[in-house]
Symmetry: none
Subunit: 450 residues, 2 copies
């Protein structure tokens, strides 16, 4: 495929300019204002798809529009999912260059969204263009589903997928791109965890009291602590009634895949500046916990006086925000119910359990054909060390495609890397990775056509 590489090499300037154009559009889905800028961005994506020869259109949703496109003819169909919206850039003062003014420094491109997910979206479109220049018409059907609400939890996507199940049908799906690991190895993810995000709210007296009443006033902060202690035991193991029991055990193939994942514990701990993982987990046990098991995480909590110095009150209210990451077998609504039932059974029916939002887990078998295609495409590119993860610790709406539509779904492509600071200031990708990714997707299409 030497010619393909030459084509990428020869058009680097144009490819980069096109990417910068995309990155200059501040398509922040968490903002209510700026809906017009959103439509411009969607239109721009549509025009890029058309420039690559696809039939593209804007499709309306309750929220920001979806860009949908099709190209190619053949027996097989590939669905490509991505999103053109980005996270808010704050805190702005931590950016070395402005988030929506893409800047190249030391071989990397800095801008909000470059790693998640605009670089990935455009690399695929550019790969499609170069593929056709090199090999002619695409010998399979390629469908693009590019949404604008991923960073706010894809609220419109479930209905969109349900209503367009036929349109979206495919033999395989490449979800938004994965990221290269700490040692710069390509990574392929075959699943995502689900999530049940809840807020537990406890109420004490109707107003903060002088803590002289601390011996007899019901204290909502203590109440939450007492409730939380029933959710994890003193060893830190999850003891929520029925929760672990709902989780399907990992398959033999998952465990095999886990055993082949190079896991640099020391580097991960160093990057967090911690001496040990939770519960002193190490090695494969830590990796299994990270990737294959559900979690009960406290993302935030607050009660009473939290300013400097000391204030002596019995707080009126307390809350804790928790995200439970779910594995296959568990589902969001049922887990919220479990939390309610668990607390009620222990006399904590005064604690309100608010269902903030959820996502379902999804997994594609690690030996699916699409996984082999992804690995082979890396090999074509000279990377023999692609690592297959049975699932990822994070969550996303992959179940809408993988489970609801029954389409084997993976993440590959690796525009981003472990230092890309996704969702943080100074988000970046290495230019070399970006151009490699364009070549990768062209090879993936070639392999998929086989």
């Amino acid at each position: 495929m030497g010619n393909l590489d030459e084509r990428v090499e020869g058009s680097k300037d144009e490819l980069l300019e096109e990417l910068k154009e995309f990155l200059r559009m501040p398509s922040i889905s968490a903002r209510e204002e700026g809906a017009e800028g959103f439509r411009e961005c969607a239109e721009w994506v549509r025009s890029r798809l058309e420039s690559a020869g696809a039939q593209a259109k804007i499709m309306e949703t309750e929220g920001h529009p979806v860009v949908y496109a099709e190209i190619g003819e053949g027996d097989k169909t590939l669905l490509s999912y991505g999103h053109y919206d980005v996270q808010p850039p704050e805190p702005l003062e931590l950016w070395e260059s402005k988030p929506f003014e893409p800047a190249v420094r030391d071989g990397s491109l800095y801008a909000r969204g470059v790693a998640d997910d605009k670089g990935d979206v455009l690399a695929r479109i550019q790969a499609l263009r170069l593929y056709q220049e090199e090999f002619g018409p695409l010998p399979f059907k390629l469908k693009f589903l590019i949404e604008g609400e991923e960073e706010v939890g894809s609220p419109s996507l479930p209905a969109f997928v349900r209503e367009n199940a036929e349109l979206l049908s495919a033999d395989a799906c490449i979800w938004e791109g994965s990221i290269k690991d700490e040692a710069n190895r390509p990574v392929i993810f075959c699943g995502t965890k689900g999530m049940a995000y809840v807020e537990l709210r406890a109420k004490g007296p109707s107003h903060d009291l002088h803590s002289m009443y601390g011996g007899i006033a019901p204290n909502p902060a203590w109440r939450l602590v007492q409730a939380l202690r029933t959710i994890k035991d003193e060893n830190g193991d999850i003891t929520l009634d029925g929760f672990m029991e709902m989780a399907d055990p990992p398959t033999e193939k998952d465990l095999e895949a886990i055993s082949r994942i190079p896991f640099d514990e020391a580097a991960l701990k160093a990057s967090w500046d911690v001496e040990a993982f939770d519960r002193n987990l190490t090695g494969e046990e830590a990796l299994k916990e990270y990737l294959l098991r559900p979690t009960a995480n406290i993302a935030g909590m607050q009660s009473g006086y939290t300013g400097p110095g000391s204030k002596t009150i019995v707080p009126s209210e307390a809350f804790v925000k928790m995200d439970f990451r779910l594995v296959v077998g568990q589902d969001h609504k049922r887990v919220v119910e479990l939390v309610r039932e668990h607390l009620k059974k222990r006399g904590f029916d005064d604690i309100e359990v608010v269902d903030m939002h959820g996502l379902e887990p999804a997994k594609t078998p690690v030996d699916s054909p699409v996984v082999r295609t992804a690995v082979a495409a890396w090999e074509d590119l000279g990377s023999e060390d692609a690592v297959v993860y049975p699932t990822i610790g994070g969550s996303g709406p992959t179940s809408l495609v993988a489970t609801d539509l029954g389409i084997p779904t993976i993440m590959t492509g690796n525009v981003a890397n472990a230092a890309s600071r996704i969702h943080s200031p100074n988000e970046s990708v290495r230019l070399a990775d970006y151009f490699e990714s364009v070549g990768y997707f062209a090879r993936f299409f070639r392999r998929f056509a086989d």
Copy 2:
């Protein structure tokens, strides 16, 4: 003493205007800024004392100044303690009128500090003025000690009292005022609990992490929950090693006094809008818990994301603010050590225990002469139902006087009432109580002179 009552009645407008002037000064001792406003407030108090004929002066400390004054001649000496500083007013949005713009509504005066302790401070000064108008020179020596750091734990007071032990010597001390109970009965307190205010701080990763790592990243919020569960058991009883054992048991006289306290549980619960006390305590058990036993209160806690909606992180830090209220036999420094030893013994030596400040417990016997004086002054005013509490649930630096200087010390006067929302938004006193208190202190002086 009909003439005295007429004097109060006839000067209500002036008395109230003077009080409002005091309340307009935002003397928030928890704030580092605004030290100049502090001095103005101290100067104002000094000028009021001088207007009542006392020899008054500002005395410097390491922190905010003390106002000291003396007046009168005789065999006996009475010390009056109060403070001119106030709690922070936050949360501001809950105030119906601004905290430093005193407002009268339905016969009550609303402002930060009106109940704790500016109303009380000024009522005594005004009582002194009216006493002299009615009866002539004071036939005993009255000393005023009015500090500016009570709401931040009186950090400068121990040194001040130590260095001025001779100056402060007295036969009895009336500490800052007590509060009327739910049934509007006058209350006399004969002791205060001590306090050990600590912050427990837990550290996780060096920065907030994506909660996809929730299964293996050390979570400081969970860490705190795990530590806190060792401090109270699942029944809510304190299980801090050695803590309860340090507490002296109540005396026979204390228990007798407790049995005579009319305790309107229903009214207290209604005022807090709760259905039950902590641990479903009721009756004399609740009262003993409130007054005679130590506490382990959570005054505030925070970790991670506490804004609206959901954010999925493993927090980098977590802290909890706790005030332990102490009874005689316990002491502040030793309790902080107990917390450290207790946590260390259970493997929580990663949790930092910060000693924020402390106070020692103190008790004056319920049958002391000054208690009888206080009861008699209420009787003179027509209140036959004054209630004597062996101690109060709250804390203050009374031990500096009661224990270190050996001066029998009580609280009486009752400017405030059970609904005064001390330390909370909409702090208030009833105007009728305020004017009554002016008359009460004048009568107390009369009785003390006997």
